[in-house]
Symmetry: C2
Subunit: 303 residues, 2 copies
């Protein structure tokens, strides 16, 4: 059987946002700026830079405006930020952001516990944000979380994921990222979910976003590439997943994804050595080793 893989994959680096927001330690603004600039230098073209959410809920992202102000932006690189509502949108617009992301869940219980409203209410809250963003010419990205399982509800139906993804597409999201937030998915379930969503939203507008809690992320990514996805979210050094933290659900490490894609001859435009160096620097700022086997081997070679 021949695998029909994409020739090129765009990696959306989510370490500075999804990664760092799930780390126990706070990282100073300078370290975040250095991380984002190092990631751009390594060739990444989409780098999530932070979020404009309440600092009460996510203190790790309270300095996003300061990070954006100090960041030397590279032409051709996008630095999206997460915004939950109009207040966040205004802050993002004031910071000169060109791409924003909104985030919904495929599970009612998770939506209520994570963003304190039902799925339908969250979509109602996003619509004016989307409209305002599109009116300003911003690019809009949508996240769907819990696409392969919910910590409160267990299994999540592919049709529930497709419904939320469809609503986000309809409000103008150029791209929709499907997140296995708790990292429980396995390859065939990932394919079934992706296929269900692709019946509603064209595959070209979909991204996959795997957390590696159960070690399945790379296998799941491979399975999704095989059925046509070509945008993959990941976090340098596996940020967000300190193995010693309770309930760690780190993102798949960008180093591991790039190594796999390089080995399969799939272009990413990313320089693995530079990427791994960026991962070592932010891991040092967090006081621990990168959560990535590729990063660990490269660290030994670099030592």
């Amino acid at each position: 059987m021949t695998i029909a893989l994409p020739k090129r994959v765009r990696i959306v680096e989510v370490g500075p946002r999804d990664g760092l927001q799930n780390e126990a330690g706070l990282v100073p603004v300078e370290a975040k700026v250095a991380l984002i600039e190092a990631l751009a230098d390594a060739g990444l073209k989409s780098i999530e830079a932070g979020s404009f959410v309440s600092p009460k809920w996510v203190p790790q992202m309270a300095d996003t405006a300061a990070v954006l102000a100090r960041l030397k932006r590279v032409p051709g690189v996008s630095y999206p930020v997460l915004v939950p509502n109009m207040q966040g949108f205004e802050a993002a617009a004031a910071a000169g952001v060109e791409e924003i992301a909104v985030f919904g869940a495929a599970s009612e219980s998770f939506s209520r516990r994570n963003i304190n409203c039902s799925i339908a209410e969250s979509l109602d809250r996003f619509r004016p944000v989307a409209k305002a963003a599109l009116a300003r010419g911003m690019r809009l990205r949508g996240y769907v979380s819990c696409v392969l399982g919910c910590p409160y509800e267990g299994a999540v139906a592919p049709s529930a994921v497709a419904a939320v993804a469809g609503a986000l597409a309809e409000m103008g999201c150029a791209e929709i990222s499907l997140g296995d937030t708790i990292g429980v998915g396995t390859p065939l379930k990932a394919q079934a979910m992706l296929r269900a969503v692709a019946e509603i939203v064209p595959m070209e507008r979909l991204a996959v976003h795997f957390h590696d809690s159960w070690g399945q992320a790379l296998a799941n990514i491979l399975a999704c590439l095989e059925i046509g996805v070509s945008v993959v979210d990941s976090a340098v050094a596996g940020l967000g997943g300190c193995p010693y933290a309770k309930g760690a659900t780190g993102n798949v490490a960008t180093e591991d994804v790039v190594y796999m894609l390089d080995g399969m001859g799939i272009e990413t435009g990313v320089d693995l050595a530079k990427l791994a160096a960026a991962g070592r620097a932010i891991s040092a700022a967090l006081g621990r080793a990168p959560v990535s086997k590729v990063a660990q081997v490269l660290a030994k070679q670099a030592a």
Copy 2:
């Protein structure tokens, strides 16, 4: 594209041999016996129990005869041991072993450094062992190492792997395990190698054996299942790969493999909870945590 996966996979548990022989710490006989018995109780049907090699070279396996003598063998479970030569074969036969394995390399440099002879010489050394084993009604397994890369030569040609596998098949090996000894492989290279070997030896007689040094093992296993392999080697708790040891090249963790196969509805006959408990016990004997994300999540749940 539909994936043609096997309905059932046989896992060959190599932790007590390939795993423990690569651990820095020595494990007492009782702990090894307890491990092997716990693995059988978890449902594994092929459990490598040790090797009869020079204790000068592999002190971790010096007590294999003692382990076999104390082991309560379960009917229907095979406990293969590695033997490098006739001397090892005689020791295995004296211990009542019913399955032995011989091990060759696909790389000349690795063969010389690992077993101190050329590939051709190693095959010449295995022939009388194979003949004697078959004459006694023993099952014979063959290993080929460095199938996707050699630490001294770099890339290894699939044709070189196929040649060694073919020679092992010809001398009577019922099954040939293809080992990515240094864990550098990626999915398409793994498939290309496996396809080349399957032109010489029927797929039904092939097993894949991935080390997870670069984090690619599960993705590689998935890719190989997709083209027809149905026997997978792995080591409980990722034995052999302590992340703090220099040059660690641990086997893929059996827990991670079983979780993936369970999630895909592929039968293994293995009870994941019992397996993980066995992994925690041997990891405790080694004084460290299991090298497996699945094992780590299950350990938290069990705590």
